[in-house]
């Protein structure tokens, strides 16, 4: 095993997620980036490299070569700037690239950003761009959309484990409630179970309120070696595990529709690396692109046995300050889902929680947190475990 340096997050920042009709992509990244740099009190300190996650800027705003743009607008030239794309996991994988760069000793201070500008195009165009996260040839060309793919998983989960539509709806109710306590969230209003259940059917059994929204937004974190982290902050948060796994791009090739293998593999390795167990996690941001995805995630990570995620949600075990606080930011469902930004935003939220800066949605005595970011229908999963460095 290589000797790797310990890595800490020393600064975080994000834009409000939502419909930023009066801001462009470059405005969003600059806003998030500057907030993270200010948070880390980096003035006068050399940033060595930038990693940026964005899924579909080329299709959504016609702009490729996105990290050169980010470096330019954050005033970081001429440092190396690298784009990472892994569909909805782009942000999480970018964070892992930044982590590895610092851990390996190649770079010292690294900024990791994630961004997406999605509301400038009609909804159909956005849905088509997101479709690129699945298997174009075998799924999307055949008429499947992402809601349809997750609906298949939901239906199978209901069949195998008796999970109900109400249990899935409760994920949305819980995440909207958390989002209502987050000033950065796309949706700031709580919703009732009845509202979710009565919302328009998108892909049976998934209804409108089972689906995360199309959002604009950006998030950024600053990484530094643990040994120098206290130069930048009194409250460094150490990344104690960074893992990633892959699975088949299309659903049809998988052995099971009711679990994401990539999640199971990445989470298991993360717990081994961090030397913690699921029960040690105080707060976790999971990838709830659809309500069923949160149920799959909390089972596959190991917080609850397979088939019990829906019931645990309905019983309030995933609510703020309960058994395990899941998606305190509001998740993708409530906080919004600018795809490339999501994985980085999850890290921002966990850092705030571990520093005790999450305000009304603060998890009491949060010491260990986790992020879980999925690409597509589960072909990529990246997880991070973080610990408050006291």
């Amino acid at each position: 095993m290589l000797i790797m340096r310990r890595v800490a997050i020393v600064g975080v920042g994000m834009t409000e997620f939502g419909e930023h009709w009066e801001k462009g992509f470059r405005d969003l990244i600059a806003e998030a980036g500057v907030r993270a740099i200010e948070d880390a009190k980096l003035a006068g300190v050399k940033i060595d490299a930038l990693y940026g996650g964005t899924m579909a800027a080329g299709r959504l705003i016609g702009q490729e070569h996105i990290t050169a743009l980010i470096a330019d607008y954050m005033g970081l030239n001429p440092i190396p700037a690298t784009r990472v794309e892994a569909a909805c996991a782009s942000g999480g994988v970018a964070l892992r690239q930044g982590y590895m760069a610092v851990a390996s000793g190649i770079h010292d201070v690294v900024v990791v950003g994630g961004a997406e500008k999605m509301t400038d195009v009609p909804v159909n165009d956005a849905a088509a761009a997101l479709g690129g996260a699945g298997d174009q040839e075998w799924e999307l060309f055949m008429g499947a959309t992402f809601p349809a793919l997750y609906a298949l998983m939901a239906r199978r989960h209901m069949h195998e484990y008796g999970t109900t539509e109400e249990e899935m709806a409760q994920v949305a109710v819980k995440n909207h409630l958390n989002a209502s306590k987050n000033k950065y969230a796309h949706f700031k209003s709580p919703v009732s179970l009845e509202t979710v259940m009565k919302s328009k059917v998108i892909a049976d059994p998934l209804k409108l309120f089972d689906c995360s929204p199309i959002s604009d937004g950006a998030a950024a974190v600053i990484l530094a070696p643990m040994e120098t982290a206290r130069q930048f902050t009194d409250t460094p948060v150490e990344i104690i595990a960074s893992t990633q796994a892959s699975d088949t791009l299309g659903l049809s090739s998988r052995k099971s529709l009711t679990e994401l293998r990539a999640t199971k593999v990445a989470a298991k390795k993360a717990f081994e690396t961090a030397k913690v167990a699921p029960g040690d996690i105080d707060v976790c941001e999971v990838h709830d692109c659809f309500t069923i995805a949160e149920i799959l995630a909390i089972e596959d990570i190991g917080f609850f046995p397979k088939g019990k995620g829906g019931k645990a949600t309905m019983d309030g075990e995933t609510a703020l300050n309960s058994t395990i606080s899941i998606n305190t930011s509001g998740g993708l469902k409530g906080c919004g889902h600018p795809v490339g930004a999501t994985g980085v935003k999850q890290a921002v939220e966990i850092v705030w929680q571990l520093r005790g800066e999450a305000g009304e949605r603060q998890v009491k005595n949060a010491e260990v947190g986790m992020t879980h970011n999925v690409g597509g229908s589960g072909a990529t999963c990246v997880t991070h475990i973080m610990r408050r460095a006291d």
Partner: protein, 355 residues
């Protein structure tokens, strides 16, 4: 009450709504939607549908004749300008306004022109003739908003796009004015929330973009500008009329401006006749004038996609009572209706290409 109206006002008005209606259930049954969701979401129960031989020109003539009857003037009594605002002019090149001018026998000593600014072309025409009357260029000016608005089958617009018209004769003789136009102002930006390209049968719209950055930004800004410029407060208003693309937006706008919804509902006709586009706020104003008392203060704010809002402060005079019985009220047009099937609607709107 300061104002730029220079003593001009409405000397006659008239509305017209085709008698056919199609209700939300009839449309949702075709497209597999839930009627209750449409009714709750859009606040529209049914919309007006023109007959096969009705178009923006015939509707303009109907309401113009009503306005002349209300004003008590004939075609040769000094109508010096006709402005017809619509986004469904029957011709791309060839004025609707000349058809109206001939039909009401106002030719040839007048100017006549068509206007287009999505749903606010009619109120823009009112501003034009206000200025011409105030400048002494003309004795009377006729401003009309008329539309047989379009909606692609299956689009959300199909539940809202209605047909109707309203005409206002504006003059400067105090003893003829039923409602003085105290002040007007506009708020305009280039905001592409809704548009129709040349040759396209149906308009395109920016989905959720049509709300906050389009309708609300312009309606609220123009209304606030009017209040600031005149010193009139929300509590001074007896009625407020807003452009009404659906039954919900005007009530939200009222809430944002601190105006009780009871002051908005008398002029809110979209729930029962749909969005009549260029005519929407003008029919709403006509419905209010039908019941308004001398001394009442009314604010009207239109909205046209693209985008802009015209706001008016209007004071009802004693003259209104004497002219009241001369024309059919908006309510009588709303109540006189015949509901039709989707099949007949398709025929009326010529949505079958072979028709």
């Amino acid at each position: 009450m300061a104002g730029n109206g220079n003593g001009v006002g409405i000397v006659g008005y008239g509305a017209y709504v085709p008698r056919f209606r199609i209700d939300a259930e009839e449309i949702t049954a075709i497209w597999g939607e839930e009627a209750s969701r449409i009714k709750d979401g859009l606040g529209i129960n049914e919309k007006s549908v023109p007959d096969m031989d009705e178009d923006a020109a015939t509707i303009a003539v109907e309401c113009a004749r009503n306005a002349m009857r209300h004003a008590g003037i004939g075609g040769q009594d000094g109508i010096g300008a006709i402005y017809v605002g619509s986004e469904s002019h029957p011709y791309a090149v060839k004025p609707t306004a000349t058809i109206v001018a001939e039909a009401i026998q106002a030719t040839p000593n007048l100017t006549a022109v068509d206007m287009e600014f999505a749903c606010k072309a009619g109120t823009a025409g009112m501003q034009c003739v206000m200025g011409m009357c105030a400048a002494g260029m003309i004795k009377y000016g006729l401003a009309i908003g008329t539309d047989t608005s379009q909606g692609r089958p299956g689009d959300a617009l199909e539940y809202s796009a209605g047909a109707g018209g309203a005409a206002y004769i504006i003059g400067s003789k105090k003893e003829e004015i039923v409602a003085e136009l105290m002040h007007t102002c506009s708020f305009t930006t280039d905001t592409p929330d809704f548009w129709r390209r040349p040759g396209a049968d149906f308009p395109s719209h920016g989905g959720r973009f049509t709300g906050e950055p389009a309708y609300f930004k312009h309606v609220i800004s123009a209304s606030k500008m009017l209040m600031e410029q005149t010193g009139v407060k929300a509590s001074d208003l007896d009625y407020a009329v807003f452009h009404q693309p659906n039954g919900k937006f005007p009530l939200q706008a009222a809430k944002m401006l601190g105006i009780p919804i009871e002051k908005v509902k008398p002029g809110l006709v979209t729930p029962v006749i749909g969005n009549t586009y260029s005519a929407a706020s003008m029919i709403g104003l006509a419905a209010v004038l039908d019941i308004a008392k001398p001394g009442n203060t009314i604010m009207v704010t239109s909205f046209g996609s693209g985008a802009g809002s015209d706001s008016f402060l209007i004071k009802v005079t004693d003259v209104i009572e004497a002219k009241r019985s001369r024309i059919r009220t908006v309510k009588s047009y709303i109540d006189d209706k015949e509901n039709i099937s989707y099949g007949r609607y398709v025929k009326h709107r010529r949505k079958l290409k072979s028709l």
